[in-house]
Symmetry: C2
């Protein structure tokens, strides 16, 4: 059973889940707060050889990104860590990493649970944030809107492949260090003209597809608008790596062209990229002018 199916089944079976954004969206809403939770496991989400402190930062980023994608401001975190005997020596580093990550994102560690593990290191994080003035969702995009991306994509995948053995001139742990768009998310949740938002966790194609499906619009990404300069030094298919790189934690969002949210953001210190538009229909397409190819299922599914 795939992750999405499991979550869908849980949602169906779970009385009352419908009253909040609940399972399936990036974070859940209660009262005036947003909450997100992730669990990661050694050997599945990271390698046995990966230093635990990198894992800690990444799980912070993933959850804070979920809050940012809904326009909230992360405030509090709770950690659950299960450490196998073989990694006992890393506990000090784990504590330092928690402290450092909490500092980087200016969130308060208010609780948690530590335990022993039989074989694998597990890290589970819960992030609680304050809702912004406007709750951003995946379902609000209309047709004829612009599609914005907060920053270039692709390096998370290149660095992951380096960690797995590929020969790229890049920090093999860079993909653990992709930062969530905490400040941008906070601004987007207060600006009032953003119609939908999601963070890039599964890859541009797949995440755009979530927006497309839940909003009921077609999304067209214009290849000529994608910023590729950061990929120049790597011998890879630029388009492929741009649209198929997960856990980037960039934000993808939509707004009406006339609201010029990109100009507003630029005035406030955020350079975002206008990469395409929505129209009537369904699916996500990459257009190079001459032709359009479907990229709805591009990306990767988390195990």
């Amino acid at each position: 059973m795939k992750e999405f199916e499991f979550i869908k089944l849980l949602k169906e079976k779970c009385k009352g889940c419908g009253s909040t954004p609940g399972i399936g969206d990036d974070a859940a809403l209660f009262d005036n707060f947003l909450v997100a939770k992730d669990i990661v496991c050694e050997g599945i989400h990271f390698l046995k050889a990966t230093p635990a402190e990198h894992v800690v930062l990444k799980v912070f980023s993933a959850n804070i990104s979920d809050i940012a994608a809904m326009g909230g401001t992360p405030k509090y975190v709770l950690l659950g860590i299960a450490v196998p005997k073989a990694r006992e020596g890393e506990k000090k580093n784990i504590i330092e990493a928690i402290k450092k990550s909490a500092g980087l994102y200016d969130v308060e560690v208010i609780g948690g649970d530590t335990a022993s593990a039989s074989n694998d290191l597990f890290v589970s994080l819960t992030v609680i944030g304050k809702k912004g003035r406007f709750l951003l969702s995946r379902s609000g995009a209309g047709k004829g809107e612009r599609v914005y991306l907060s920053r270039p994509l692709g390096l998370a995948r290149i660095s992951l492949e380096k960690e797995l053995g590929a020969d790229f001139d890049i920090d093999a742990f860079k993909h653990y260090k992709m930062m969530a768009e905490k400040e941008l998310g906070e601004v987007l949740g207060n600006v009032g003209t953003v119609t939908s938002c999601i963070d890039i966790s599964d890859g541009l194609g797949r995440d755009a597809s979530h927006l497309s499906e839940e909003s009921g619009v077609k999304i067209v990404i214009e290849e000529k608008r994608l910023p590729f300069s950061h990929l120049k030094q790597f011998d890879v298919d630029k388009v492929d790596y741009f649209i198929n790189s997960g856990e980037e934690f960039a934000l993808l969002f939509t707004a009406k062209k006339e609201h010029a949210v990109d100009s507003y953001l630029k005035d406030n210190g955020f350079e975002v990229h206008d990469i395409g538009y929505t129209q009537k229909g369904s699916g996500v397409f990459l257009s190079n002018g001459a032709k359009r190819i479907s990229i709805s299922s591009k990306g990767y599914e988390h195990k």
Copy 2:
């Protein structure tokens, strides 16, 4: 490093944790909410052979008990589950168990994360509750107060030993089914005369010791007041099993005798046991009239 040491170290290193009850108490406070989080691992907290649905209920109970111990009302839960290939077939039962547990405690599952695991099943739960009128803590007991226990103890240990191979006439999974005192916790958080409270998760001796240390009082448990009839059928040292049984999720609390909180509770349908008193000093003692023995370190520490 033991769990308490790890948490203590994290607390020391964590800027700002002091502004809330934070790590170390049963649940953390933010705004008008309480939040508790637990992580459990196959092979450490439960056996490979233990059906996953029992694990799910127990982790619900443990976290809801943490909220109850602070006088709150559990409202929302978020689950993190990592399932190894060998247990894939249990996913349906896990979903049913989540639904059933949420129903039993009348809490809403608002989110979560499911993942694959390499070797072991992990379950992490976050419970969010509403603070009661009064926040109960471990530190409010004064001298000359009565000590109350919500129900008899010992069966969790007997059933755990049965699961581990001992020959007792009891459900080997009963210890997974010990229910948290959700309703009682809610009442205690609104009554105004309860001076301190903790849930029995480490055993009576050790948990009473937490109250004693944090309140700065001596606690004397009167053996003649302990209700033993539920242990009659088992060939065990009754006193030992009563004071050394963890994860019982009963509530232990203190109040002034003249406030007669036990009578008030009885009138409201809760039969609690007056098992002893506090006095000036430190430590936890079991008194049988003739002599007092220290039971401060009785109980067990979670791995």
